[in-house]
Each structure stands twice: as structure tokens, then as C-alpha cells.
């Protein structure tokens, strides 16, 4: 189980750096420029207005499809508003976010 988990994380890492067409730097600008930051935070960290996207476990095509088609609480962004390529960049940006530290190592999250 543990090995599998590590493998899948590794795979995600590989994808983020090489296998994706997306460009994380452009992705950051698009994430801000198209308004994704408003509900997900500049780092995609999530909060009361939208879930965490940074280091998402969702595959890229699922993210693209979700953004274009959702009819849940997030307003959809059609292909006219954001292209698949732009979403690929955003995906790369989200995967490039540093992994959060283990909360046990952050003293302020362990206050008595």
C-alpha cells in the first residue's frame, strides 16, 4: 500500500515537470488573470470559497473537463473563456506548488 502511494506521488511529480505540455509560469499568470485565485487563493490553497487545487490528485483532463462543464457551486468557464492549453498551464502551475509541510512540524499548528 505504502509503496503504491509513493509510486503514484512520484508519477505526479514526473508529470508535472516533464510529461505535461503546460507551462507553470504561464499557468500562474493565467490562474490570476482568469480569476481562479478569487475562490481558490493565489496558491490554489483553497478556503471557504473553493477547495484546494494545489497538488491536485485529479488528472489533467478531469480538471479541464470540470472547469468547462461544472454546474455545481463553481461557475463554469467555457472554452471561449479559457482554452484547454491555458488550463494545461494552470495544471502545471498547480502541480508545481510546494508540498505543504507536515502540520506536526509547524509549531503554530500544534499549540497547546
Amino acid at each position: 500500500m505504502k509503496t503504491l502511494f509513493t509510486l503514484s506521488l512520484l508519477a505526479t511529480g514526473l508529470l508535472a515537470t516533464s510529461a505535461f505540455a503546460g507551462d507553470a509560469v504561464k499557468g500562474k499568470a493565467t490562474f490570476v488573470g482568469k480569476g481562479c485565485w478569487q475562490c481558490h487563493g493565489y496558491e490554489g490553497q483553497g478556503g471557504s470559497a473553493g477547495p484546494r487545487l494545489a497538488n491536485t490528485q485529479l488528472p489533467e483532463d478531469a480538471v479541464i473537463s470540470f472547469v468547462h462543464n461544472t454546474n455545481g457551486i463553481m461557475p463554469p468557464f467555457s472554452e471561449k473563456l479559457i482554452s484547454d492549453a491555458e488550463l494545461s498551464d494552470i495544471y502545471a502551475y498547480l502541480q508545481s506548488r510546494p508540498k505543504p509541510a507536515d502540520p506536526k512540524t509547524i509549531p503554530l499548528l500544534n499549540l497547546k
Binding site: G41, A49, G72, I73, L81, L108
Partner: protein
């Protein structure tokens, strides 16, 4: 030619000569024999009563030196006598001519004590301060507002207090006599039925036309405001009534005694039925909004929850339930409940349904989120106070047991009913339920801290980091989070240890933005008198509606640590306009900003630290680097502990 004051004005003047020296007598009666005065004759009878010593002296002796130019004790001095019996500690107000007479009486005749006058820059600030003050002390303040325009300024604050079930005593000035009042400005500021401006969102209002009627109105108004469900009341004072002397025709003046009303509690039959339903439930959930009016309300709710092993959703209208308790839960648990007990909910419909702002044609859609067949019990005093115009009563929700009664007052009976109906089999289930609940609670806590760790080092600073840096510094104080306006993703409620009544005061009530700044100053004033440490999380948009309240805090030495959640936007609206653009399938126009035109507070950025500094605060900012935040908070705390307010302008993530 100058006309004399007409009508009652000239009537009163006829008494001036004879009553000049007798003026003090009614007030003596008023302040010394409150109970006896209950049975005093009504106003028109005193002419038949034997004259008192002062009146005899006035009629039989040569007049002595005149005490003052108006020839007697002013009506507004008597008003102060009345106020003093109610022990109203402060009157945060913006000065104005229509209540100048009462103002003068408060600071001179009343020696500026109970009430003490506090200088405000805006009527909305006065109301907001009274709002916050009440949530700490459980005692109302009064605020004076000027004629038409002052009351108009006060309205949003009054509406918030109404929706938040908070008593505030609004005292208005109004010059009624159209022929006698000064023309021009005071006439613009007068109205025939001035309280109509706020009638829809006050519990009661009045415009007494005699001093005796004022005394009755004031005590009645206070009593109405203080009967749950609490709420604001408005009493408008004629300028003539305040300014003219107490005439001999008022010699029987008395002040009615105030007795604190007891809150209405649920009918016993309904209470027993509710206990039965809750005991039969597999998964009972308690949802509380403004349930704990007092610290005892929290204790009672814990007792009930533990008896039933029911999960509790604290919606946060007040501090209802300790977030450290293993039965504390987020709103989602209501979806699994088979019985829901709603305590003072402002919106029961939304507990069991949801509204998604994403339907066809740009209109949202409703969906049920509770289990089919879920049984609902409501205990809410607000049902005793429904008005037609403003829609704060929310959507209609059918329930199975409805108790229009005060929740806190009903809890002791409900607890007793649960205890007496509890069987040993049912009690035996509790250990298992508790074990399960404790495990679930630990898992939730772990998930919350993991979520807080994401973007921990981000700049602008994450709201989780902001809140935890702050908590780290205040946690060993007797702290009180006096306001948290703007949305910091609820981190204080998720991660701080909130256990006491004053740890969390709830929000504005009516979601009228601009509540946070004045309410935090009012609550900090109350905490100052109790020796407690006040902290607020202050959003940028909220502060800018009436920032003058910062000056009030400095002027009156109200210690408050205000840490800004400065996301440089009216962020809720950023998302609303973005949503509209997405629905309409067109890009949103950001102009030169980071979000839709008209929703961002940037270009130029407001230097809130300078704004605060200019009004006498210690301030620092803008702080964008999370590493600098802790040391800055430490510095600010030292200032606050020395008795001054301090503000940190912190650049934050949007939510």
C-alpha cells in the same frame, strides 16, 4: 417680529413665573421614591394635590435670585434622572442640535456618568459600538441620533442589531412644533413621524409629548428591548420637551420602576414531545445559532448534547458550544441526521436545503440536503417577533415541533425531560456513541490542521497563518475575539480554542458591511472595563465605511488589537461579478486591477496603518511577509496592554 412658541410651549411658559423656584421639587420626588411613584396620580391631576414646600414658598415669599435663565430645572435634566435609574453606562453618539439639551444635561447635570458621553464620528458607529458592547456585557447602551439625517445614518447599524437580536436604545432628537422651531436647517431635520424610518426593524418606538410620558417610554422601551428576543427600540425626543423647564403642571412626575423581564420558555407538553423525539433518534443533531444568550447557555447546551450524545453544529451567531468538544461538528452533519433540534436559527430552511447559485438562465436552484423523513424541532423566540417588510425571517420551513420560545430559557426543562424519559437501554448506547464521536472529532482536527499548512509561507499571507500567528500571541491572555469581519475561511472557529462566551461574539446579523470596526470598539470598551484583552480581525472594506470610529477608540483609550485581513477588495463581490461573467460566457473586465472593475480596493492601495496612526493609534504595515507577522503582533500587543489601540495592516490571501 418674533412669534412666541405656540401651543404647549406657551402653556408651559405660563408656569414659569410661579414655578421657577419650584423646579427642583419634581426631580427630588422622581429620584427618591421610585416605587411609591408607581401609584402617583397621572399628569393632569397634580393641580389638585396639595402644593409642596417649594411651591408654597414660591407663592408666599418674594422671589429669590433666578437659578437660570429658563427659570427652573430643564426637562432634559429629568430625562437624565430617568436614564440613571436604568444604569446605562455609555452613550456613544455624534453630537447634534436636536438633542443638544439632553447632551448638555448628560455631561453637566449628570456629571457625564451613567451614561458617559463618547464622541463618535458617525451615527452608524454609535449603533455599532452599542451592538458590540451588548454582546460582552448583556447590557444595552443608548445612542443619540440627530433628527432625520442622524437617524438615516444610523439605519444600517440598527438593521444589523435587529437581525442579530441585540438591544440598542436609539434616542432621537426632533423639533416637532412647525411654527416655533427654528426655520432652515432644524426644519430640514424634523419629521412628522420620524421613527417610521426604522419602524420595520425596531421592536418598538415612541415620541413622548410630555416628561411623564418620556419616563414611561424610556422604561417601557428598555424593557421591550431586554425581553427576548432582544432588539433595538427608538424613542424620539421633541426639542421643546428637552429644553423647557419642568413646569408646575409636571409636579407629580415619577419614574416607573424597571423589572427585568424573564424570557419566554417552551410549553411543557412540547418540551416533553421534543425530548421523546430526540431520545428515539439514531443520529440526533443540534444546530444552534443565537442559542446561548449568556455563558450559562453554553453550559446547558453541553449538558444536553452529552446526555443525548448528539453532534452539535454551532452556526456562530453567538458562542454556543466549545469547538474543543468532541461533539462539535461542521454544518455537513445535518445531512445524516434523523432528528434535528434547531435553537434560535435565523434560517432553518438552509439547514436542510441548499441553494446553488448556478442554475439555468443565471438563476440558482434549490435542493434538499437532509435525509428523507428527518424530523425537525425548532425552539426560537424570533417567531414571537415577525414583521412583514424586511425579509430577515427567511424562507418558511415546516417543522414537526415548533416552540416559539427562548432556547436558553427552555433548555433546563428540555434537559430535565430528557433525563426523566431516558431508559437504561438508551443510556447504554451513549458510551459507544461517544467513542465514535471522539474518533471522528480527532480526524476532523487532523484534517483542519493539514489544510492550514497549505501555502503556510505564502505572500500575501494565508488566512490560516494570519489567524495562527495571532492566536499564538493571545492564547495565554483572557482574550476576546470581538469581531472577525470579512472572511478568513473561519480559521479562528476551526483552530482556536473557543470555549468561553466572550471568545466569539458572532457577526453583524444583517450582513450590513461596516459592522466590524464599530462593534469591535464597543466590545473592546466593555472588555476594557472587565480587564480583558480584545482582538479583532478587521477587513479592509468593512473599515472604510466609517473609519472615524478608530478615532473614538483612541480618544476614549479603548485598548484593541486590530489585525487586518486586507485582501484589497470587497471580495465577496469580486466573486459575484466573476460568476455573472462566467454565466454570460464573456471575459470579466478587470481594468487595471486583479479582479472585476468596481470590486477591488487597489490602485492606489489604502495605507490603513497611516489612517489609524492619523487618528491616534499605534500602527504598522503593510505586512506581506509571513515571517514578519509574529514579531509585529508581539509589538502591537505591548501597546495594547499599555491601554492604547493598535492596528496591523496585513496583506492577506482573499479567503
Amino acid at each position: 417680529m418674533t412669534e412666541p412658541r405656540n401651543g404647549s410651549g406657551t402653556d408651559r411658559r405660563r408656569f414659569l413665573k410661579g414655578a421657577a423656584l419650584a423646579g427642583a421639587a419634581p426631580a427630588i420626588a422622581a429620584t427618591t421614591s421610585v416605587t411609591q411613584a408607581q401609584v402617583a396620580a397621572p399628569r393632569h391631576i397634580p393641580s389638585a394635590l396639595p402644593p409642596n414646600a417649594h411651591q408654597i414658598a414660591a407663592e408666599t415669599h418674594a422671589p429669590g435670585p433666578i437659578e437660570n435663565r429658563i427659570g427652573g430645572k430643564p426637562g432634559s435634566d429629568f430625562m437624565v434622572d430617568v436614564l440613571k435609574t436604568l444604569d446605562i453606562k455609555y452613550t456613544p453618539s455624534n453630537c447634534a442640535s436636536s438633542f443638544r439639551a439632553l447632551h448638555e444635561s448628560i455631561i453637566n447635570y449628570g456629571e457625564n456618568k451613567a451614561p458617559e458621553y463618547l464622541s463618535c464620528m458617525h451615527e452608524e458607529s454609535g449603533v455599532g459600538m452599542a451592538h458590540g458592547y451588548f454582546k460582552i456585557t448583556g447590557k444595552p447602551l443608548m445612542t443619540m441620533v440627530h433628527g432625520t439625517v442622524g437617524l438615516q445614518h444610523a439605519t444600517m447599524g440598527i438593521y444589523n442589531a435587529w437581525c442579530d437580536r441585540v438591544p440598542v436604545i436609539i434616542i432621537g432628537g426632533n423639533d416637532l412644533d412647525a411654527a416655533a422651531r427654528p426655520p432652515g436647517v432644524p426644519t430640514f431635520h424634523a419629521a412628522q413621524d420620524i421613527n417610521t424610518i426604522v419602524r420595520d426593524y425596531t421592536k418598538w418606538d415612541d415620541m413622548p409629548t410630555s416628561l411623564q410620558a418620556f419616563a414611561q417610554s424610556m422604561v417601557r422601551g428598555y424593557k421591550i428591548a431586554m425581553t427576548p428576543p432582544y432588539g433595538p427600540v427608538a424613542i424620539s425626543l421633541d426639542a421643546g420637551l428637552q429644553q423647557e423647564p419642568i413646569g408646575a403642571h409636571n409636579s407629580g412626575l415619577y419614574i416607573p420602576k424597571f423589572t427585568m423581564p424573564s424570557p419566554p420558555s417552551g410549553e411543557m407538553g412540547a418540551v416533553k414531545d421534543a425530548a421523546k423525539m430526540l431520545l428515539a433518534a439514531e443520529n440526533p443533531v443540534i444546530v444552534a445559532d443565537r442559542a446561548a444568550r449568556t455563558p450559562n447557555g453554553i453550559r446547558l447546551l453541553v449538558e444536553l448534547a452529552e446526555l443525548l450524545q448528539a453532534q452539535v453544529v454551532d452556526q456562530g451567531g453567538r458562542m454556543n458550544f466549545p469547538n474543543t468538544h468532541y461533539l462539535a461538528r461542521g454544518a455537513a452533519v445535518a445531512a445524516q441526521a434523523d432528528v434535528i433540534l434547531g435553537l434560535e436559527l435565523s434560517d432553518f430552511w438552509a439547514v436542510v436545503n441548499s441553494y446553488t447559485d448556478n442554475g439555468e438562465h443565471g438563476i440558482g436552484y434549490n435542493s434538499a440536503k437532509a435525509k428523507a423523513g428527518v424530523k425537525l424541532i425548532s425552539i426560537s423566540s424570533v417567531e414571537l417577533l415577525t414583521k412583514a417588510n424586511y425579509q430577515d425571517f427567511q424562507r418558511f420551513q415546516s417543522v414537526d415541533i415548533s416552540m416559539p420560545a427562548d432556547a436558553e430559557a427552555t433548555l433546563p426543562a428540555l434537559i430535565e425531560a430528557v433525563k426523566s424519559q431516558m431508559t437504561s437501554e438508551r443510556r447504554a448506547q451513549n458510551d459507544q456513541r461517544a467513542e465514535k464521536a471522539k474518533k471522528a472529532f480527532a480526524d476532523i482536527r487532523a484534517r483542519e490542521t493539514a489544510a492550514a499548512a497549505v501555502a503556510w509561507d505564502a505572500s500575501p499571507i494565508s488566512t490560516a497563518r494570519l489567524c495562527m500567528e495571532l492566536y499564538n500571541q493571545i492564547k495565554d491572555e483572557d482574550w476576546s475575539l470581538v469581531a472577525s469581519e470579512g472572511n478568513v475561511s473561519n480559521w479562528p472557529n476551526r483552530l482556536w480554542k473557543m470555549e468561553k462566551h466572550h471568545h466569539w461574539l458572532g457577526r453583524s446579523g444583517g450582513y450590513g458591511v461596516g459592522y466590524g470596526a464599530p462593534a469591535s470598539v464597543g466590545a473592546a470598551l466593555a472588555n476594557r472595563d472587565l480587564g480583558r484583552f480584545s482582538v479583532s480581525i478587521q477587513s479592509d472594506g468593512d473599515l472604510m465605511f466609517a473609519p472615524g470610529v478608530l478615532w473614538t477608540a483612541a480618544k476614549h483609550k479603548i485598548p484593541l488589537l486590530s489585525v487586518m485581513h486586507n485582501n484589497r477588495a470587497w471580495h465577496q463581490e469580486v466573486m459575484h461579478v466573476q460568476r455573472m461573467a462566467s454565466f454570460r460566457n464573456r471575459p470579466s473586465n478587470y481594468g487595471n486591477d486583479a479582479g472585476p472593475i468596481g470590486t477591488m480596493i487597489q490602485n492606489p492601495d489604502i495605507e490603513y496603518h497611516k489612517l489609524a496612526e492619523s487618528m491616534g493609534w499605534w500602527a504598522k504595515g503593510p505586512i506581506k511577509d509571513p515571517a514578519q507577522l509574529g514579531p509585529a503582533i508581539k509589538e502591537a500587543m505591548a501597546v495594547v496592554k499599555s491601554g492604547q489601540p493598535a492596528l496591523l495592516n496585513v496583506w492577506t490571501q482573499p479567503r
